[in-house]
């Protein structure tokens, strides 16, 4: 019995993207989702396609390529993913943060990102709702937003149209091995022969790999978010704050902080969605598999957001939720084959960048699996990069 060319495991934004791009290249693809499409991290996050937050280097280069794919994606998928090229701001609250942001920005400009520094009234002209104490902001017109769940559904729907099969409620049980190859996957009580297998299983990837003797330094990191009632337009861009950048790349500095908000890794990530509601994040916490929100987390998110945009204090928060982001020590995802295996691949570990990086991840994985070559070098994303003794992604300096 001949099985599909590729079995994709995991129906989040990465799995559906990989499925779509494989199907687009003509492959026979089967997507297995253990519960529902987008039911975990991909539906518990914001919808940022933001470039400014990416570490200047291969990370940003990858995000730029992904942003390019997003431009035409709604038409390509024939699905309203609520894409809006709104532009983004990284708000700077303190003078002391300026030098670091200038350096960060200069490196990003060198890689080709259109980003500039707006000071004082310049930024308040762009967003009059910003608090008076805001020193400035870095601004990039290239930043955009989407509705993450619509991206997941759009990829899945388009993949189906191209002949891919999408099965929900089917958990992966085991991988059958024949020499250095996966011969079949056992899922939902069924043995399915597979030409290749890609694990797009986000935070759950390590538990699938441990039985194979592969250890992946990928951990769940909780992010809490607050949702407000719909409101008239108040802001026109997506927002991060400079502290968000610090929380993302230097968690060790924050863990020891006196301030509760800092210890929780609270950095502003704010957008006003198409419906008018605000989505406000977020914390960055290592608390295992606990997906609950906390009163402290909620309070600090709200406090931080209302300090930057005081008008938010007039709105009712109507919902809170938390998601687990697949954290890796260098902030880069794992994209590539599992060492020692010929046809087993991983695309996981995007932390908070899964939405932004999904299209390029899907495309590159399809290239890799079907041709063995990629249009963008994946060396820095190698699955065994930590085993080889490299650990600080911030120092990577590969450009395509």
């Amino acid at each position: 019995m001949k099985g599909p060319d590729v079995v994709v495991v995991g129906g989040g934004v990465i799995g559906t993207a990989v499925t779509y791009y494989l199907a687009k290249q003509g492959a026979d693809v089967l997507l297995l989702e253990r519960a529902e499409l987008g039911g975990e991290t991909s539906s518990a996050c914001d919808g940022f396609v933001i470039l400014q937050s990416k570490s200047p280097g291969v990370h940003l280069a990858l995000a730029l390529a992904s942003a390019e794919l997003y431009r035409g994606l709604a038409d390509e998928l024939d699905w309203d993913i609520e894409y809006r090229n709104c532009g983004g701001l990284i708000v700077i609250e303190r003078e002391e943060e300026l030098p670091a942001m200038r350096t960060f920005m200069a490196k990003q400009q060198a890689i080709g990102l259109d980003v500039r520094l707006l000071l004082g009234d310049e930024v308040r002209r762009l967003e009059p709702a910003l608090a008076p104490h805001i020193v400035g902001a870095t601004y990039s017109p290239q930043d955009s937003q989407v509705n993450p769940l619509q991206v997941v559904l759009g990829f899945a729907q388009a993949a189906r149209r191209l002949g891919a099969r999408v099965r929900q409620g089917v958990p992966l049980q085991t991988l059958r091995r024949a020499g250095a190859r996966v011969s079949a996957v056992v899922a939902g009580g069924e043995e399915i022969p597979a030409g290749a297998v890609v694990l797009c299983t986000g935070v759950f990837t390590p538990e699938l790999l441990t039985p194979l003797g592969v250890e992946l330094p990928l951990r769940p990191r909780r992010g809490q978010l607050v949702v407000t009632e719909p409101a008239p337009p108040l802001v026109h861009h997506i927002f991060l704050c400079a502290r968000y950048i610090a929380a993302k790349y230097h968690p060790e500095l924050l863990a020891a902080a006196e301030d509760e908000a800092l210890r929780l890794g609270v950095g502003l990530a704010l957008e006003q969605t198409g419906s008018g509601g605000f989505l406000i994040g977020s914390t960055r916490e290592f608390v295992g598999w606990d997906k609950r929100t906390t009163p402290l987390g909620i309070r600090e998110i709200v406090r931080h957001a209302t300090r930057i945009l005081p008008a938010l204090a007039q709105l009712n928060a109507i919902r809170t939720f938390a998601g687990l982001r697949p954290y890796t020590p260098d902030g880069l995802p794992f994209l590539g084959p599992v060492p020692g295996w010929e046809n087993l691949y991983i695309a996981a570990g995007h932390e908070g960048d899964g939405i932004a990086l999904a299209p390029i991840t899907g495309r590159l994985m399809a290239e890799l699996i079907l041709t063995g070559r990629t249009s963008f070098p994946l060396t820095d994303f190698a699955v065994d990069r930590f085993a080889r003794g490299k650990d600080q992604g911030g120092q990577l300096k590969v450009t395509p």
Partner: protein
């Protein structure tokens, strides 16, 4: 964390179940805080102006709003803390997240009683969103509590107790009630309530439904129709009424958000109004130290809510370390009285539904 309050027993909801739970718990010596989002305690009792049935323990012969006043006064006298204008927005283990007058803080308790009540169901038909179409409970709140008639010519949908009682109270408030529309073949509420409005000349049309509501900018006309055996409107039976108010009395659903967030296990019970948290015969949910009482534990009557509240309050106090042989006796007496409330032709169905919930809890407890 700044603004972190602590107590023995926290009760969410200051209606009959919540106040009753608070009093019972307080009587054991426990420190008790009641958190209620409204400006005054009493819950939906505050708008009940009819006399209650039943026994002395359940304030028979008294009007609802008087019972609310008495319970609130007893709470104050005995040192229960009543926090009004206080919204419990979330539950995190044994900690409640609260917003009161613009300030957010937490309240941590050894045991928590959820007495959050129920909300009115809606009924969708063309035009149901027009101003003038509203819940029967909304109409009741406005006529009896705020002393304002939201309309003058009224049709009521639903001939359960709420529909019948509110129809009568609309008459008392000076409105013209054109009739009561009921989809079921029989009147659901007590015969004594139905007789009262019939005596006042208000027809009750069973096997009838609302087809649509019309009006330019607000409600002006409602069209009803008779239903056949299969529940389908009979063509040619349509009748239109010029009204400015249409009240919906089509049941209540338990307000279970906090119980869901706390991780309680649930079971569906159509008779009890929807998904109901599994609970023991002492009203403890599947989350240790978290109790439920009143409509959140299954929609019943105010008398049942009072008794469930008492039981939950006592059990919560025992959980918090204030147990005693006397308390166990009182719990047993409360359970007896609940059994009595759930007997007779109207009670036995609810008794079976309630027992189903307790059996679910026992299955969960046994499997643990």
């Amino acid at each position: 964390m700044a603004g972190a309050e602590v107590t023995d027993i926290a009760v969410v909801g200051g209606g009959p179940a919540g106040l009753s739970a608070a009093l019972a718990a307080r009587q054991t010596g426990a420190e008790v805080v009641v958190v209620d989002e409204n400006s005054a305690p009493g819950g939906q009792l505050r708008k009940q102006i009819h006399k209650f049935f039943g026994s002395k323990e359940h304030h028979a012969g008294q009007r609802g709003f008087r019972i609310a006043e008495e319970l609130a006064a007893a709470c104050r006298d005995r040192g229960v803390e009543l926090w009004t204008d206080a919204l419990a927005y979330g539950i995190f283990d044994h900690t409640l997240g609260i917003v009161r007058r613009g300030t957010a803080f937490t309240l941590t308790a050894r045991a928590i009683v959820l007495a959050t009540g129920a909300s009115e169901n809606a009924l969708a038909f063309p035009g149901w969103t027009l101003p003038g179409v509203m819940g029967a409970g909304a109409a009741q709140t406005f006529i009896n509590l705020h002393r304002v008639l939201p309309g003058r010519r009224v049709l009521m949908v639903g001939a359960g107790n709420v529909g019948l009682i509110v129809s009568y109270q609309l008459l008392q408030a000076g409105a013209e009630v054109l009739g009561v529309v009921e989809a079921a073949p029989r009147i659901g509420g007590y015969a004594v309530h139905a007789a009262k409005i019939r005596r006042a000349g208000v027809p009750i049309w069973t096997r009838h439904t609302v087809l649509r509501a019309d009006g330019r900018g607000q409600l002006e006309e409602v069209t009803i129709a008779a239903l056949d055996e299969n529940g389908r409107p009979i063509p040619g039976s349509e009748r239109a009424f010029a009204v400015d108010m249409l009240c919906l009395a089509v049941g209540l659903t338990p307000l279970t958000e906090l119980a869901w967030q706390a991780g309680c296990r649930f079971e569906y019970s159509a008779l009890l109004g929807g998904h109901v948290p599994l609970h023991s015969e002492d009203m403890e949910t599947t989350v240790p130290g978290l109790f439920v009482a009143g409509d959140v534990a299954g929609v019943e009557e105010a008398s049942t809510a009072l008794e469930e509240g008492r039981l939950a309050g006592l059990a919560a106090a025992a959980y918090a370390g204030h147990g005693s042989p006397a308390l166990e006796k009182e719990k047993a007496a409360a359970r007896e009285r609940l059994l009595a409330l759930r007997s007779g032709p109207f009670g036995s169905g609810r008794r079976h539904a309630y027992e189903e919930i307790v059996r679910g809890w026992l299955r969960w407890s046994g499997a643990r």
